[in-house]
């Protein structure tokens, strides 16, 4: 069902956990399917210094969460905002068609976290 890369990220997820003093947190959920993703960011000078996630969901949900954290660590915010759900799926070498809509939400969670950071900074 899942390719090797997806299974690798699923079984050894990168950057699992919380950041205590995160300055950006984003959460998305697919209320129908029930999965929830939360991304924690530590941003300095518009650079993502650290990122962690927590996810309730299927194999694809966990793998995409893990993948997106790898993709953005060390990146500038504007670069990170350009990453789409599609790009995350591609970086994983593809997902089963049934999973594309339902659990491919990691980039959305990331964007929410960035928005949260920007909103907090603006205050």
């Amino acid at each position: 069902m899942y390719n090797e890369k997806v299974m690798d990220h699923f079984s050894n997820p990168r950057n699992v956990g919380e950041i205590k003093d995160a300055n950006g947190i984003g959460e998305v959920g697919n209320s129908k399917c029930g999965d929830i993703m939360r991304i924690y960011l530590q941003v300095e000078d518009d650079i993502i210094k650290d990122v962690k996630f927590k996810t309730f969901g299927c194999g694809a949900a966990i793998a995409t969460s893990s993948m997106v954290t790898e993709m953005v660590k060390g990146k500038r915010l504007d670069e990170a905002l350009e990453i789409s759900n599609q790009a995350v799926a591609e970086a994983l070498g593809g997902l089963p068609p049934a999973k594309m809509h339902c659990s491919n939400l990691a980039a959305d969670a990331l964007h929410e976290a960035i928005k949260d950071y920007i909103a907090k900074k603006g205050k």
Binding site: C33, F53, F56, G59
Partner: protein, 386 residues
């Protein structure tokens, strides 16, 4: 890696003896039972002997057994066959909200054909209430179809009471016994069952073969048209190897029933007790007593079923889940939802279904790793500990 199979409600391995008999009826005794020559007579005889064995499993008469291609066809034939043949008597059918899709989707189809269907609700243990059933009956009711045992949570319905009530009211009673037949003692006479569906691959015969028991006198219309096979009720060259295998599997099931049930139930109870002790935040789904001997179904709160399955799979254990994510559909199991479980709890369910080939050792290995996996997944879960 050792592979452990804990998914016997999905399908079972074919018994070695059954498979070898099937092989004989494929390569050597291959005649068409409709042929008049020696090759044909030989398979005709084997066919009728198999019918006797299948009948004996459920205490029916041989001429009350009709072979089908499996449980789904049996369910379709029972519901459509009874509905079409008894249209003049009424257009109302009663079933339950927790039936298999072979029943539910057939009922939906019949609704489009002008029948009216009542889907009985269930309680938190997946049991129907006799009161609801009584209240649902109208003078238009021609058929009650209630599954014998549920495939997800293992709950066994009050079949005898239903049979009794149906008999009193003069309404046909069909039961989808795909999970129970061959795995649990059934006596159609004692239980007042008019029609019963069984499927070979759930009790160590092959996939692609099944049978429908139809009590003598029940009016059923054929749904597959062609040659007059199975006394004009089911056209198509008989699947002789499948049927002979089904007969053998029925014979073995009947012979070993008591021993098998006791053994499997022992494994089941060990799993239920140990998980309940060792893992916090869980819920046993299904009825605590009236339950299939091999069925374990737990919801592990805060985690998701597919992730749990994949982790078990990586450790060589094959189990199943009522999570929507494993099926590609959006909603989790209609059974768990009908029992009143909230979405997120339904999502975290794990079904382990045991067979006579499973060992205590396998169970111990499983019990050793489940708490770790659950802990690991919970530590990633945004729902847990927050």
């Amino acid at each position: 890696m050792k592979r452990i199979y804990f998914d016997h409600s999905a399908t079972t391995p074919v018994d070695r003896e059954v498979a070898e008999l099937m092989l004989e009826y494929m390569t050597d005794k291959y005649g068409n039972p409709s042929s008049v020559h020696a090759f044909g007579r030989e398979t005709r005889k084997a066919l009728e002997e198999a019918r006797e064995k299948v009948a004996a499993l459920i205490n029916a008469a041989p001429n009350e057994i009709f072979f089908t291609s499996g449980g789904t066809e049996g369910d379709n034939l029972a519901l459509k066959g009874v509905a079409y043949a008894n249209r003049k008597k009424g257009n109302h059918i009663i079933t339950t909200a927790i039936e298999h899709h072979a029943i539910l989707h057939t009922c939906e189809y019949l609704e489009k054909q002008g029948f009216s269907v009542t889907y009985l609700p269930v309680d938190e243990n997946a049991m129907i209430r006799m009161e609801d059933l009584k209240n649902a009956i109208t003078d238009q009711t021609i058929l009650i179809s209630v599954m014998f045992a549920n495939n997800e949570v293992g709950t066994i319905q009050p079949i005898k009471e239903i049979g009794q009530l149906a008999k009193e009211k003069g309404i046909y009673f069909h039961t989808d016994a795909v999970q129970a037949a061959g795995n649990y003692p059934i006596d159609v006479k004692e239980l007042n069952i008019d029609l019963l569906t069984m499927s070979g691959h759930k009790f160590h015969a092959s996939k692609g073969i099944g049978a429908l028991y139809i009590r003598r006198g029940v009016r059923v219309e054929e749904i597959q048209h062609g040659g007059g096979h199975e006394r004009n009720l089911r056209a198509g060259t008989e699947n002789v190897p499948g049927i002979v295998g089904l007969g053998k599997a029925a014979e073995i099931a009947k012979r070993d029933m008591e021993e098998k049930v006791t053994y499997i139930q022992g494994l089941r109870d060990k799993i239920i007790t140990t998980i309940t002790e060792k893992v916090p935040h869980i819920k046993l789904n299904g009825h605590p007593e009236s339950r299939m001997p091999g069925n374990v179904n737990f919801s592990f709160l805060y985690i998701e079923g597919e992730s749990l399955l994949l982790n078990l799979d990586m450790k060589g254990i094959a189990a199943s889940s009522g999570s929507a994510c494993t099926s590609g559909s959006l909603d989790p199991s209609h059974v768990l939802l009908a029992m009143g479980l909230p979405h997120e709890v339904a999502h975290g369910s794990l079904r382990v279904t045991l067979g006579r080939g499973n060992t205590e050792e396998e169970v111990d290995y499983f019990l050793g790793i489940v708490p770790e996996i659950v802990e690991k997944l919970r530590s990633m879960s945004p729902l847990y500990g927050s």
